[in-house]
Amino acid sequence: MQPLILTFQLALTVTVILFIIGVPLAYWIAFSKNRFKYIVETLVSMPLVLPPTVIGFYLLIVFSPQYFLGHFLQSFFGIRVVFSFTGLVIGSVIFSLPFMVNPIKAGLQSFPLALMEASYCLGKSPWETLRRVILPNIKPALLTGIVMAFAHTIGEFGVVLMIGGNIPGETRLASIAIYNEVEALNYDTAGLYALILVLISFSILLIFYYLNRKSVKIF
């Protein structure tokens, strides 16, 4: 059971972090007039096209204690990123970033400008407008971002294997455990993990599409 619990711990942590950084990032991309923002958009969407192993490889290099950043984190803060749960979280946040940011960005871009302007004319700051007017009206987009980021993190393999390795209880996620068990010819355990993952993923997506079916389009 341990790999499964670890998987859900990771997915939950990653989703919370992604929501916190995803909303401001999506807001910036949606409304900024900065002429270099397409570069940021490109970077956010890179994980959609790169093989997960490529991202995992670079993370492994960057955070390796032999190199600057990894060395700095380890010697000053005692944080070891590679082959640790922290590493899994960092890798997954980067890898699932577009799944959170892109739906929220689309929701924000389709939000009527007239409602934002009405709020500004009433003396409300952009932050208050975002919190009390925009976010409550783009719930379907927020829900899409949350569910997609969560589900995608559960389904990860390449990035987490590269940066996390295969340490039981620390970095051995369900997807990696299945691979392990198959290699060891333990088809029964692998099958059990696989079945549980299928059932849980199916349920999450089913609930999501059920909720979105009921969500009324306001505009």
């Binding site: 302007e117 500004y120 004319c121 007017v133 009206n137």
Partner: protein, 293 residues
Amino acid sequence: MMIKIQLKKEMHTPLGKEWLDLDLNIAKGEFVAFFGESGAGKTTLLRILAGLDQPQEGYIEVDGEIWFDSLHTIDRPTQQRKTGFIFQENNLFPHMTVRENLEYACGDKKDRHHIEEWIAVMGLKGLEDQRPDKISGGQKQRVVLIRALINQPKILLLDEPLSNLDIRSRLNLQDEIIKVYQKTKITTILVSHDLSEVFKLSKKIFVLDHGKIIRSGSPLDVFVNNDLSGKFKFSGEIMEIQKDGVLNILTLSIGNNLTKVVATDEEIEGLSIGSKVIVSAKAFNPLILKANP
């Protein structure tokens, strides 16, 4: 003098680039209208006043406060200008009830006690807990009007606020706007291409054409055409055209009233329901009756 406006703003119209070029003053508590075809720059002017658009150069002063000054790079943000802006399309917050929309507008919790009063004055009692999609277009614009006023803005900006309503609600709401104006004496700037509306509501009119003011003055000064010599002149809108024998009977909405006049086929050529017309008559012996008080 309360509002000073000097500005130059480039506009992109279907006919190419044009400049909105204005220099005018508006007195405190005045109800003025900008009248002109679409694309003349009316909406742009209101957006600039609200701080939603910036002119290339200009100076805007309201009540002694400088809102915009391109020479000294002053541009007071929309939030600090506090204008009551009413747009053409309804823009109530769809996820909030009528009351929540109004509460959101109150800067301060203690302003909330005005809500009940306004709801009663505008005849919205019983609708407080409805979402905007459950009330009529006229009711929505009433809520929008209260929402704009409850924050006690310095100026009320009306951008064709009634153009999406049917004629009945439009006439009703014109009366409400007059009522609100008399109650608050708030400086109001109306923008419209509806002659009868401008005529009925405002005391002073600026006629805007391709970004420039071509005429200004009282409604009568501005709209009474010199090539007409009738003694009575009203502007109105055609509600109905009925064929009756060789003549046509037009039902017109003039001010608050509906009236029927006859017209020949030649006269109605090019006119249709909704057309704006001027009715004039040479009156040699008009009947004058005492109006019921």
